[in-house]
Symmetry: C2
Subunit: 299 residues, 2 copies
Protein backbone atom coordinates (compact mmCIF):
# COMPACT_ATOMS: atom_id res chain seq x y z
CA UNK A 1 0.00 0.00 0.00
CA UNK A 2 1.11 3.55 -0.77
CA UNK A 3 2.47 5.29 2.34
CA UNK A 4 0.26 7.93 3.95
CA UNK A 5 0.69 11.62 3.23
CA UNK A 6 2.66 12.50 6.38
CA UNK A 7 5.18 9.69 5.90
CA UNK A 8 5.69 10.55 2.24
CA UNK A 9 6.18 14.21 3.06
CA UNK A 10 8.61 13.57 5.93
CA UNK A 11 10.59 11.07 3.87
CA UNK A 12 10.87 13.42 0.90
CA UNK A 13 11.79 16.51 2.95
CA UNK A 14 14.45 14.52 4.83
CA UNK A 15 16.02 13.79 1.46
CA UNK A 16 15.64 17.17 -0.24
CA UNK A 17 14.93 19.70 2.50
CA UNK A 18 11.83 21.52 3.78
CA UNK A 19 11.25 23.95 0.90
CA UNK A 20 7.77 24.08 -0.57
CA UNK A 21 7.60 25.98 -3.86
CA UNK A 22 4.49 28.13 -4.18
CA UNK A 23 3.04 28.26 -7.69
CA UNK A 24 1.22 31.63 -7.69
CA UNK A 25 0.47 32.87 -11.21
CA UNK A 26 0.21 36.62 -10.53
CA UNK A 27 -0.93 37.89 -13.95
CA UNK A 28 1.46 40.86 -13.90
CA UNK A 29 4.45 38.68 -13.04
CA UNK A 30 4.27 35.77 -15.49
CA UNK A 31 7.26 36.32 -17.82
CA UNK A 32 6.48 37.30 -21.40
CA UNK A 33 8.43 34.21 -22.41
CA UNK A 34 5.32 32.14 -21.58
CA UNK A 35 2.95 34.28 -23.63
CA UNK A 36 0.33 36.86 -22.74
CA UNK A 37 -0.91 36.57 -19.12
CA UNK A 38 -3.87 34.21 -19.02
CA UNK A 39 -4.67 30.57 -18.39
CA UNK A 40 -2.46 29.28 -21.23
CA UNK A 41 0.59 31.22 -20.01
CA UNK A 42 -0.16 30.15 -16.41
CA UNK A 43 -0.20 26.51 -17.52
CA UNK A 44 3.10 26.80 -19.38
CA UNK A 45 4.75 28.77 -16.59
CA UNK A 46 3.41 26.43 -13.89
CA UNK A 47 4.66 23.37 -15.73
CA UNK A 48 8.07 25.01 -16.21
CA UNK A 49 8.27 25.70 -12.46
CA UNK A 50 7.32 22.07 -11.79
CA UNK A 51 10.12 20.89 -14.09
CA UNK A 52 12.69 22.96 -12.17
CA UNK A 53 11.45 21.62 -8.82
CA UNK A 54 12.20 18.00 -9.72
CA UNK A 55 15.21 16.84 -7.71
CA UNK A 56 15.43 20.22 -5.95
CA UNK A 57 12.26 20.48 -3.86
CA UNK A 58 9.85 17.85 -2.56
CA UNK A 59 6.69 19.88 -2.36
CA UNK A 60 4.80 22.40 -4.49
CA UNK A 61 1.80 24.52 -3.52
CA UNK A 62 -0.32 25.84 -6.39
CA UNK A 63 -2.46 28.80 -5.33
CA UNK A 64 -6.01 28.06 -6.51
CA UNK A 65 -7.25 31.66 -6.23
CA UNK A 66 -4.81 33.03 -8.76
CA UNK A 67 -5.79 30.39 -11.30
CA UNK A 68 -9.47 30.81 -10.50
CA UNK A 69 -9.45 34.48 -11.43
CA UNK A 70 -9.68 33.19 -15.01
CA UNK A 71 -12.78 31.14 -14.19
CA UNK A 72 -13.22 27.61 -15.51
CA UNK A 73 -10.35 28.13 -17.98
CA UNK A 74 -8.10 29.00 -15.05
CA UNK A 75 -9.30 25.92 -13.18
CA UNK A 76 -8.40 23.83 -16.21
CA UNK A 77 -4.91 25.37 -16.08
CA UNK A 78 -4.69 24.50 -12.38
CA UNK A 79 -5.69 20.92 -13.17
CA UNK A 80 -2.92 20.66 -15.76
CA UNK A 81 -0.30 22.04 -13.39
CA UNK A 82 -1.40 19.70 -10.58
CA UNK A 83 -1.34 16.76 -12.98
CA UNK A 84 2.16 17.66 -14.20
CA UNK A 85 3.43 17.98 -10.62
CA UNK A 86 1.88 14.68 -9.56
CA UNK A 87 3.29 12.89 -12.59
CA UNK A 88 6.71 14.37 -11.81
CA UNK A 89 6.54 12.73 -8.38
CA UNK A 90 6.22 15.99 -6.44
CA UNK A 91 3.98 16.28 -3.39
CA UNK A 92 1.18 18.71 -4.22
CA UNK A 93 -0.51 20.84 -1.57
CA UNK A 94 -3.41 22.62 -3.23
CA UNK A 95 -3.84 26.02 -1.58
CA UNK A 96 -7.58 26.45 -1.98
CA UNK A 97 -8.63 27.40 1.57
CA UNK A 98 -12.02 25.77 1.16
CA UNK A 99 -14.57 25.24 3.90
CA UNK A 100 -18.31 24.61 3.90
CA UNK A 101 -21.05 22.57 5.53
CA UNK A 102 -21.59 18.84 5.26
CA UNK A 103 -22.72 17.94 1.76
CA UNK A 104 -20.79 20.77 0.11
CA UNK A 105 -17.63 19.95 2.03
CA UNK A 106 -18.07 16.36 0.84
CA UNK A 107 -18.16 17.74 -2.70
CA UNK A 108 -14.92 19.64 -2.21
CA UNK A 109 -13.24 16.71 -0.42
CA UNK A 110 -14.18 14.19 -3.13
CA UNK A 111 -13.44 16.67 -5.89
CA UNK A 112 -9.88 17.29 -4.74
CA UNK A 113 -8.75 14.42 -2.50
CA UNK A 114 -10.91 11.66 -3.97
CA UNK A 115 -9.79 8.89 -6.30
CA UNK A 116 -9.81 9.99 -9.93
CA UNK A 117 -9.79 13.73 -9.14
CA UNK A 118 -9.47 15.95 -12.21
CA UNK A 119 -7.21 18.14 -10.08
CA UNK A 120 -4.90 15.60 -8.42
CA UNK A 121 -3.25 16.76 -5.21
CA UNK A 122 -1.86 15.20 -2.03
CA UNK A 123 -3.40 17.67 0.39
CA UNK A 124 -5.64 20.72 0.38
CA UNK A 125 -5.77 23.78 2.64
CA UNK A 126 -9.06 24.32 4.51
CA UNK A 127 -10.53 27.06 6.70
CA UNK A 128 -11.74 26.06 10.19
CA UNK A 129 -14.09 29.00 10.92
CA UNK A 130 -17.29 27.05 10.28
CA UNK A 131 -16.36 24.29 12.76
CA UNK A 132 -15.12 20.73 13.05
CA UNK A 133 -18.07 19.19 11.20
CA UNK A 134 -17.01 21.15 8.12
CA UNK A 135 -13.50 19.64 8.29
CA UNK A 136 -14.69 16.08 8.90
CA UNK A 137 -15.42 15.23 5.23
CA UNK A 138 -11.87 16.22 4.25
CA UNK A 139 -10.32 14.13 7.06
CA UNK A 140 -12.60 11.24 6.24
CA UNK A 141 -11.64 11.17 2.54
CA UNK A 142 -7.95 11.73 3.43
CA UNK A 143 -8.03 8.70 5.75
CA UNK A 144 -9.30 6.53 2.92
CA UNK A 145 -7.03 7.84 0.17
CA UNK A 146 -3.80 8.44 2.13
CA UNK A 147 -4.02 12.19 1.58
CA UNK A 148 -3.47 15.19 3.85
CA UNK A 149 -5.56 18.12 5.14
CA UNK A 150 -3.97 21.47 5.96
CA UNK A 151 -5.96 23.60 8.40
CA UNK A 152 -5.45 27.37 8.68
CA UNK A 153 -4.43 28.10 12.25
CA UNK A 154 -2.18 31.16 12.36
CA UNK A 155 -1.71 32.80 8.98
CA UNK A 156 1.13 35.15 8.02
CA UNK A 157 -0.84 38.27 7.02
CA UNK A 158 -1.26 41.33 9.28
CA UNK A 159 -5.01 40.62 9.56
CA UNK A 160 -4.28 37.36 11.37
CA UNK A 161 -4.40 39.55 14.49
CA UNK A 162 -8.06 40.50 13.93
CA UNK A 163 -9.71 37.20 14.83
CA UNK A 164 -7.16 34.34 14.99
CA UNK A 165 -5.19 36.01 17.77
CA UNK A 166 -8.22 36.99 19.88
CA UNK A 167 -8.17 35.43 23.32
CA UNK A 168 -10.86 32.85 24.04
CA UNK A 169 -11.40 31.07 27.34
CA UNK A 170 -9.52 27.75 27.61
CA UNK A 171 -10.75 24.73 29.61
CA UNK A 172 -9.43 26.31 32.81
CA UNK A 173 -10.97 29.69 32.12
CA UNK A 174 -7.70 31.35 31.14
CA UNK A 175 -7.38 33.19 27.86
CA UNK A 176 -5.69 31.51 24.90
CA UNK A 177 -5.51 32.75 21.30
CA UNK A 178 -8.19 31.36 19.00
CA UNK A 179 -5.56 29.69 16.78
CA UNK A 180 -4.30 27.70 19.79
CA UNK A 181 -7.86 26.72 20.61
CA UNK A 182 -8.33 25.60 17.00
CA UNK A 183 -5.11 23.52 17.15
CA UNK A 184 -6.18 21.82 20.39
CA UNK A 185 -9.67 21.11 19.06
CA UNK A 186 -8.08 19.34 16.08
CA UNK A 187 -6.35 16.81 18.38
CA UNK A 188 -8.52 13.80 17.48
CA UNK A 189 -8.23 14.54 13.75
CA UNK A 190 -4.46 14.91 14.08
CA UNK A 191 -4.38 11.47 15.70
CA UNK A 192 -6.46 9.94 12.90
CA UNK A 193 -4.04 11.02 10.17
CA UNK A 194 -0.89 10.05 12.07
CA UNK A 195 1.61 7.99 10.08
CA UNK A 196 4.38 5.54 10.98
CA UNK A 197 6.82 8.44 11.18
CA UNK A 198 4.88 9.75 14.15
CA UNK A 199 3.88 12.84 12.15
CA UNK A 200 0.30 13.57 11.15
CA UNK A 201 -1.04 14.45 7.72
CA UNK A 202 -3.40 16.85 9.47
CA UNK A 203 -1.13 19.84 8.95
CA UNK A 204 -1.48 23.32 10.38
CA UNK A 205 -0.70 26.61 8.70
CA UNK A 206 1.73 28.30 11.08
CA UNK A 207 2.71 31.76 9.80
CA UNK A 208 6.44 32.38 9.71
CA UNK A 209 6.02 36.02 10.63
CA UNK A 210 5.25 34.95 14.20
CA UNK A 211 7.97 32.58 15.53
CA UNK A 212 6.68 32.73 19.12
CA UNK A 213 3.23 31.84 17.86
CA UNK A 214 4.67 28.89 15.92
CA UNK A 215 6.43 27.57 19.03
CA UNK A 216 3.20 27.91 20.99
CA UNK A 217 1.31 26.13 18.21
CA UNK A 218 3.89 23.30 18.33
CA UNK A 219 3.27 22.92 22.07
CA UNK A 220 -0.48 22.65 21.38
CA UNK A 221 -0.19 20.18 18.48
CA UNK A 222 2.98 18.10 18.83
CA UNK A 223 2.33 15.70 15.95
CA UNK A 224 0.93 18.03 13.31
CA UNK A 225 3.19 18.88 10.40
CA UNK A 226 3.33 22.62 9.77
CA UNK A 227 2.95 24.49 6.52
CA UNK A 228 4.87 27.71 7.05
CA UNK A 229 4.00 30.52 4.62
CA UNK A 230 5.68 33.90 4.57
CA UNK A 231 9.29 32.90 3.91
CA UNK A 232 11.07 34.90 1.20
CA UNK A 233 8.99 37.70 -0.32
CA UNK A 234 6.82 38.05 2.80
CA UNK A 235 10.00 38.68 4.79
CA UNK A 236 10.64 36.01 7.44
CA UNK A 237 14.12 34.48 7.79
CA UNK A 238 14.97 30.79 7.48
CA UNK A 239 15.46 30.16 11.19
CA UNK A 240 12.30 32.07 12.16
CA UNK A 241 10.41 30.02 9.61
CA UNK A 242 11.38 26.86 11.48
CA UNK A 243 10.49 28.09 14.96
CA UNK A 244 7.80 25.42 15.15
CA UNK A 245 10.07 22.58 14.00
CA UNK A 246 11.63 20.03 16.38
CA UNK A 247 14.81 17.96 16.55
CA UNK A 248 14.52 15.03 14.15
CA UNK A 249 16.79 12.38 12.64
CA UNK A 250 18.95 14.71 10.61
CA UNK A 251 18.11 18.15 11.96
CA UNK A 252 15.02 20.26 12.58
CA UNK A 253 11.88 18.80 11.03
CA UNK A 254 8.11 18.99 11.28
CA UNK A 255 6.81 20.54 8.14
CA UNK A 256 7.53 22.56 5.05
CA UNK A 257 8.45 26.19 4.51
CA UNK A 258 6.85 27.91 1.54
CA UNK A 259 8.45 30.44 -0.77
CA UNK A 260 6.58 31.59 -3.87
CA UNK A 261 7.67 34.67 -5.76
CA UNK A 262 11.29 34.60 -4.54
CA UNK A 263 11.89 31.18 -6.12
CA UNK A 264 9.31 30.82 -8.90
CA UNK A 265 9.53 34.43 -10.09
CA UNK A 266 13.04 35.49 -9.03
CA UNK A 267 14.48 38.86 -10.05
CA UNK A 268 17.27 36.98 -11.81
CA UNK A 269 14.78 35.34 -14.21
CA UNK A 270 12.98 38.55 -15.10
CA UNK A 271 14.95 39.52 -18.16
CA UNK A 272 15.29 35.95 -19.49
CA UNK A 273 14.78 35.90 -23.27
CA UNK A 274 15.27 32.16 -23.75
CA UNK A 275 13.66 29.26 -21.90
CA UNK A 276 17.02 27.84 -20.90
CA UNK A 277 18.05 31.12 -19.21
CA UNK A 278 14.78 31.23 -17.29
CA UNK A 279 15.16 27.54 -16.34
CA UNK A 280 18.64 28.17 -15.02
CA UNK A 281 17.68 31.26 -12.99
CA UNK A 282 14.71 29.51 -11.38
CA UNK A 283 16.73 26.35 -10.69
CA UNK A 284 19.38 28.43 -8.93
CA UNK A 285 16.78 30.35 -6.90
CA UNK A 286 15.17 27.09 -5.75
CA UNK A 287 18.56 25.60 -4.89
CA UNK A 288 19.60 28.71 -2.94
CA UNK A 289 16.39 28.81 -0.88
CA UNK A 290 16.55 25.07 -0.21
CA UNK A 291 20.21 25.33 0.83
CA UNK A 292 19.44 28.20 3.20
CA UNK A 293 16.64 26.21 4.82
CA UNK A 294 18.69 23.00 5.04
CA UNK A 295 21.53 24.97 6.64
CA UNK A 296 19.17 26.58 9.16
CA UNK A 297 17.71 23.16 9.97
CA UNK A 298 21.15 21.79 10.98
CA UNK A 299 21.39 21.24 14.70
CA UNK B 1 -25.80 54.61 -12.82
CA UNK B 2 -26.96 51.15 -11.85
CA UNK B 3 -28.16 51.05 -8.23
CA UNK B 4 -25.87 49.44 -5.68
CA UNK B 5 -26.31 45.85 -4.58
CA UNK B 6 -28.13 46.56 -1.31
CA UNK B 7 -30.70 48.85 -2.93
CA UNK B 8 -31.35 46.40 -5.76
CA UNK B 9 -31.78 43.53 -3.31
CA UNK B 10 -34.08 45.46 -0.98
CA UNK B 11 -36.17 46.73 -3.87
CA UNK B 12 -36.54 43.27 -5.39
CA UNK B 13 -37.35 41.51 -2.13
CA UNK B 14 -39.96 44.17 -1.26
CA UNK B 15 -41.68 43.29 -4.53
CA UNK B 16 -41.33 39.50 -4.49
CA UNK B 17 -40.50 38.50 -0.92
CA UNK B 18 -37.33 37.46 0.93
CA UNK B 19 -36.85 33.96 -0.52
CA UNK B 20 -33.42 33.11 -1.89
CA UNK B 21 -33.38 29.92 -3.93
CA UNK B 22 -30.26 27.83 -3.35
CA UNK B 23 -28.94 26.07 -6.46
CA UNK B 24 -27.10 23.09 -4.97
CA UNK B 25 -26.49 20.33 -7.53
CA UNK B 26 -26.16 17.33 -5.23
CA UNK B 27 -25.17 14.60 -7.70
CA UNK B 28 -27.50 12.03 -6.18
CA UNK B 29 -30.48 14.37 -6.30
CA UNK B 30 -30.43 15.82 -9.82
CA UNK B 31 -33.52 14.32 -11.50
CA UNK B 32 -32.88 11.76 -14.26
CA UNK B 33 -34.89 14.07 -16.51
CA UNK B 34 -31.77 16.23 -16.86
CA UNK B 35 -29.45 13.37 -17.77
CA UNK B 36 -26.79 11.46 -15.89
CA UNK B 37 -25.40 13.37 -12.88
CA UNK B 38 -22.46 15.50 -14.01
CA UNK B 39 -21.66 19.01 -15.18
CA UNK B 40 -24.01 18.84 -18.20
CA UNK B 41 -26.96 17.73 -16.09
CA UNK B 42 -26.09 20.33 -13.44
CA UNK B 43 -26.14 23.05 -16.09
CA UNK B 44 -29.50 21.96 -17.48
CA UNK B 45 -31.01 21.53 -14.03
CA UNK B 46 -29.57 24.84 -12.77
CA UNK B 47 -30.96 26.71 -15.78
CA UNK B 48 -34.33 25.07 -15.30
CA UNK B 49 -34.39 26.19 -11.65
CA UNK B 50 -33.45 29.71 -12.78
CA UNK B 51 -36.36 29.72 -15.24
CA UNK B 52 -38.83 28.80 -12.49
CA UNK B 53 -37.46 31.53 -10.19
CA UNK B 54 -38.28 34.32 -12.64
CA UNK B 55 -41.20 36.33 -11.26
CA UNK B 56 -41.35 34.14 -8.15
CA UNK B 57 -38.07 34.84 -6.30
CA UNK B 58 -35.65 37.74 -6.48
CA UNK B 59 -32.46 36.00 -5.48
CA UNK B 60 -30.63 32.75 -6.26
CA UNK B 61 -27.58 31.31 -4.53
CA UNK B 62 -25.56 28.79 -6.55
CA UNK B 63 -23.35 26.64 -4.34
CA UNK B 64 -19.86 26.70 -5.87
CA UNK B 65 -18.57 23.63 -4.01
CA UNK B 66 -21.11 21.28 -5.52
CA UNK B 67 -20.25 22.43 -9.04
CA UNK B 68 -16.53 22.39 -8.28
CA UNK B 69 -16.56 18.70 -7.41
CA UNK B 70 -16.51 18.18 -11.18
CA UNK B 71 -13.38 20.34 -11.52
CA UNK B 72 -13.03 22.84 -14.34
CA UNK B 73 -16.00 21.28 -16.17
CA UNK B 74 -18.10 21.88 -13.07
CA UNK B 75 -16.87 25.47 -12.90
CA UNK B 76 -17.90 25.94 -16.53
CA UNK B 77 -21.37 24.67 -15.55
CA UNK B 78 -21.45 27.16 -12.66
CA UNK B 79 -20.53 29.96 -15.06
CA UNK B 80 -23.39 29.01 -17.37
CA UNK B 81 -25.91 28.91 -14.53
CA UNK B 82 -24.70 32.28 -13.16
CA UNK B 83 -24.90 33.77 -16.64
CA UNK B 84 -28.42 32.44 -17.16
CA UNK B 85 -29.53 33.84 -13.80
CA UNK B 86 -27.99 37.24 -14.45
CA UNK B 87 -29.54 37.42 -17.91
CA UNK B 88 -32.91 36.52 -16.40
CA UNK B 89 -32.62 39.55 -14.12
CA UNK B 90 -32.21 37.56 -10.90
CA UNK B 91 -29.83 38.69 -8.16
CA UNK B 92 -27.04 36.12 -7.88
CA UNK B 93 -25.22 35.45 -4.61
CA UNK B 94 -22.37 33.07 -5.38
CA UNK B 95 -21.84 30.83 -2.38
CA UNK B 96 -18.11 30.20 -2.67
CA UNK B 97 -16.91 31.00 0.87
CA UNK B 98 -13.55 32.23 -0.40
CA UNK B 99 -10.89 33.93 1.69
CA UNK B 100 -7.17 34.44 1.22
CA UNK B 101 -4.38 36.99 1.63
CA UNK B 102 -3.89 40.18 -0.39
CA UNK B 103 -2.92 39.32 -3.93
CA UNK B 104 -4.89 36.07 -3.99
CA UNK B 105 -7.98 37.73 -2.55
CA UNK B 106 -7.62 40.35 -5.27
CA UNK B 107 -7.65 37.49 -7.77
CA UNK B 108 -10.86 36.07 -6.32
CA UNK B 109 -12.47 39.51 -6.03
CA UNK B 110 -11.68 40.48 -9.63
CA UNK B 111 -12.50 36.98 -10.89
CA UNK B 112 -16.01 37.02 -9.44
CA UNK B 113 -17.07 40.62 -8.75
CA UNK B 114 -14.99 42.35 -11.41
CA UNK B 115 -16.25 43.73 -14.71
CA UNK B 116 -16.36 41.07 -17.43
CA UNK B 117 -16.32 38.14 -15.00
CA UNK B 118 -16.74 34.76 -16.66
CA UNK B 119 -18.90 33.84 -13.66
CA UNK B 120 -21.16 36.87 -13.29
CA UNK B 121 -22.65 37.36 -9.84
CA UNK B 122 -23.93 40.22 -7.70
CA UNK B 123 -22.27 39.13 -4.47
CA UNK B 124 -20.00 36.40 -3.14
CA UNK B 125 -19.76 34.73 0.26
CA UNK B 126 -16.39 35.09 2.02
CA UNK B 127 -14.80 33.66 5.17
CA UNK B 128 -13.46 36.16 7.74
CA UNK B 129 -11.06 33.86 9.65
CA UNK B 130 -7.89 35.28 8.06
CA UNK B 131 -8.76 38.86 9.00
CA UNK B 132 -10.02 42.16 7.67
CA UNK B 133 -7.17 42.64 5.20
CA UNK B 134 -8.32 39.48 3.42
CA UNK B 135 -11.84 40.94 3.03
CA UNK B 136 -10.65 44.37 1.87
CA UNK B 137 -10.09 43.41 -1.82
CA UNK B 138 -13.67 42.13 -2.07
CA UNK B 139 -15.12 45.28 -0.50
CA UNK B 140 -12.91 47.46 -2.65
CA UNK B 141 -14.01 45.79 -5.91
CA UNK B 142 -17.65 45.74 -4.71
CA UNK B 143 -17.52 49.50 -4.07
CA UNK B 144 -16.38 50.10 -7.64
CA UNK B 145 -18.75 47.69 -9.37
CA UNK B 146 -21.88 48.10 -7.21
CA UNK B 147 -21.67 44.51 -5.98
CA UNK B 148 -22.07 42.92 -2.54
CA UNK B 149 -19.92 40.91 -0.15
CA UNK B 150 -21.43 38.33 2.20
CA UNK B 151 -19.32 37.55 5.26
CA UNK B 152 -19.80 34.35 7.26
CA UNK B 153 -20.66 35.37 10.80
CA UNK B 154 -22.86 32.73 12.42
CA UNK B 155 -23.46 29.72 10.21
CA UNK B 156 -26.30 27.24 10.56
CA UNK B 157 -24.34 23.98 11.03
CA UNK B 158 -23.81 22.31 14.44
CA UNK B 159 -20.06 23.03 14.21
CA UNK B 160 -20.74 26.77 14.33
CA UNK B 161 -20.49 26.26 18.10
CA UNK B 162 -16.83 25.14 17.90
CA UNK B 163 -15.19 28.46 17.09
CA UNK B 164 -17.77 31.09 16.01
CA UNK B 165 -19.59 30.92 19.33
CA UNK B 166 -16.46 31.01 21.53
CA UNK B 167 -16.39 33.98 23.87
CA UNK B 168 -13.71 36.57 23.20
CA UNK B 169 -13.07 39.68 25.28
CA UNK B 170 -14.97 42.76 24.05
CA UNK B 171 -13.71 46.36 24.39
CA UNK B 172 -14.89 46.45 28.00
CA UNK B 173 -13.33 43.11 28.92
CA UNK B 174 -16.62 41.21 28.91
CA UNK B 175 -17.04 38.04 26.88
CA UNK B 176 -18.87 38.20 23.55
CA UNK B 177 -19.17 35.44 20.93
CA UNK B 178 -16.59 35.58 18.15
CA UNK B 179 -19.32 36.06 15.52
CA UNK B 180 -20.48 39.22 17.32
CA UNK B 181 -16.90 40.43 17.44
CA UNK B 182 -16.60 39.75 13.70
CA UNK B 183 -19.81 41.69 13.00
CA UNK B 184 -18.63 44.68 15.04
CA UNK B 185 -15.20 44.67 13.39
CA UNK B 186 -16.94 44.88 10.00
CA UNK B 187 -18.59 48.20 10.95
CA UNK B 188 -16.50 50.43 8.65
CA UNK B 189 -16.92 48.04 5.71
CA UNK B 190 -20.67 47.91 6.33
CA UNK B 191 -20.72 51.71 6.18
CA UNK B 192 -18.78 51.74 2.90
CA UNK B 193 -21.30 49.53 1.08
CA UNK B 194 -24.39 51.31 2.44
CA UNK B 195 -26.96 52.25 -0.17
CA UNK B 196 -29.71 54.86 -0.38
CA UNK B 197 -32.13 52.40 1.22
CA UNK B 198 -30.05 52.59 4.39
CA UNK B 199 -29.11 48.93 4.01
CA UNK B 200 -25.57 47.78 3.31
CA UNK B 201 -24.34 45.40 0.63
CA UNK B 202 -21.90 44.04 3.19
CA UNK B 203 -24.17 41.19 4.21
CA UNK B 204 -23.73 38.76 7.08
CA UNK B 205 -24.54 35.07 7.14
CA UNK B 206 -26.86 34.70 10.12
CA UNK B 207 -27.85 31.07 10.62
CA UNK B 208 -31.58 30.51 10.97
CA UNK B 209 -31.11 27.70 13.49
CA UNK B 210 -30.21 30.29 16.12
CA UNK B 211 -32.85 33.06 16.29
CA UNK B 212 -31.44 34.56 19.49
CA UNK B 213 -28.03 34.75 17.81
CA UNK B 214 -29.59 36.47 14.80
CA UNK B 215 -31.24 39.09 17.01
CA UNK B 216 -27.93 39.68 18.77
CA UNK B 217 -26.18 39.96 15.41
CA UNK B 218 -28.77 42.54 14.31
CA UNK B 219 -28.00 44.60 17.41
CA UNK B 220 -24.29 44.46 16.53
CA UNK B 221 -24.72 45.33 12.84
CA UNK B 222 -27.89 47.36 12.32
CA UNK B 223 -27.39 48.15 8.62
CA UNK B 224 -26.06 44.84 7.30
CA UNK B 225 -28.44 42.77 5.21
CA UNK B 226 -28.56 39.16 6.41
CA UNK B 227 -28.29 35.99 4.38
CA UNK B 228 -30.16 33.41 6.42
CA UNK B 229 -29.38 29.80 5.52
CA UNK B 230 -31.02 26.81 7.12
CA UNK B 231 -34.67 27.40 6.21
CA UNK B 232 -36.53 24.39 4.82
CA UNK B 233 -34.49 21.18 4.71
CA UNK B 234 -32.23 22.32 7.55
CA UNK B 235 -35.27 22.68 9.74
CA UNK B 236 -35.84 26.28 10.85
CA UNK B 237 -39.30 27.83 10.58
CA UNK B 238 -40.22 30.96 8.63
CA UNK B 239 -40.59 33.24 11.64
CA UNK B 240 -37.36 31.98 13.26
CA UNK B 241 -35.57 32.59 9.98
CA UNK B 242 -36.52 36.27 10.20
CA UNK B 243 -35.46 36.78 13.84
CA UNK B 244 -32.79 39.21 12.63
CA UNK B 245 -35.14 41.22 10.39
CA UNK B 246 -36.61 44.58 11.40
CA UNK B 247 -39.80 46.53 10.72
CA UNK B 248 -39.64 48.03 7.21
CA UNK B 249 -42.00 49.70 4.75
CA UNK B 250 -44.21 46.71 4.12
CA UNK B 251 -43.29 44.28 6.89
CA UNK B 252 -40.17 42.66 8.28
CA UNK B 253 -37.11 43.21 6.09
CA UNK B 254 -33.33 43.14 6.25
CA UNK B 255 -32.12 40.28 4.13
CA UNK B 256 -32.96 37.07 2.37
CA UNK B 257 -33.87 33.61 3.61
CA UNK B 258 -32.38 30.71 1.70
CA UNK B 259 -34.05 27.41 0.90
CA UNK B 260 -32.31 24.95 -1.38
CA UNK B 261 -33.45 21.35 -1.59
CA UNK B 262 -37.01 22.02 -0.38
CA UNK B 263 -37.72 24.32 -3.35
CA UNK B 264 -35.24 23.32 -6.09
CA UNK B 265 -35.50 19.58 -5.46
CA UNK B 266 -38.94 19.16 -3.88
CA UNK B 267 -40.39 15.71 -3.17
CA UNK B 268 -43.27 16.57 -5.51
CA UNK B 269 -40.88 16.90 -8.48
CA UNK B 270 -39.10 13.61 -7.84
CA UNK B 271 -41.18 11.38 -10.01
CA UNK B 272 -41.59 13.92 -12.84
CA UNK B 273 -41.23 12.22 -16.22
CA UNK B 274 -41.78 15.32 -18.36
CA UNK B 275 -40.15 18.73 -18.13
CA UNK B 276 -43.49 20.47 -17.77
CA UNK B 277 -44.41 18.37 -14.72
CA UNK B 278 -41.05 19.13 -13.11
CA UNK B 279 -41.43 22.84 -13.95
CA UNK B 280 -44.86 22.91 -12.36
CA UNK B 281 -43.78 21.12 -9.17
CA UNK B 282 -40.76 23.39 -8.67
CA UNK B 283 -42.78 26.54 -9.43
CA UNK B 284 -45.35 25.52 -6.82
CA UNK B 285 -42.63 24.74 -4.24
CA UNK B 286 -41.01 28.14 -4.78
CA UNK B 287 -44.38 29.89 -4.59
CA UNK B 288 -45.30 28.05 -1.39
CA UNK B 289 -42.01 28.89 0.35
CA UNK B 290 -42.19 32.51 -0.77
CA UNK B 291 -45.80 32.79 0.42
CA UNK B 292 -44.92 31.33 3.81
CA UNK B 293 -42.06 33.83 4.22
CA UNK B 294 -44.15 36.79 3.02
CA UNK B 295 -46.90 35.81 5.46
CA UNK B 296 -44.40 35.52 8.34
CA UNK B 297 -42.95 38.92 7.41
CA UNK B 298 -46.33 40.63 7.80
CA UNK B 299 -46.43 42.83 10.84
Amino acid sequence: MKAGFADRLVDATRRLGPLCVGIDPHPALIPALFGEAGPEAATKWGRAVVAQCVGRAAVVKPQAGLFERWGSRGMAALEQVCRAATEAGLIVILDAKRGDIGTTAEGYAEGYLGVGSSCPCDAITVNPYMGLDTLEPFVSVAEKTGKGVVVLARTSNPGSRDFQAKLVADSEGRGEPLYIHVAKALGPMIARLKGESGWSGLMLVAGATGPEDAARLRAAAGDALFLVPGYGAQGAGARDAMAGFVKGKAGLEGGVVNASRSVAMPESAKGAKAAKDWDRAVALAIEAAQAELVEAARL
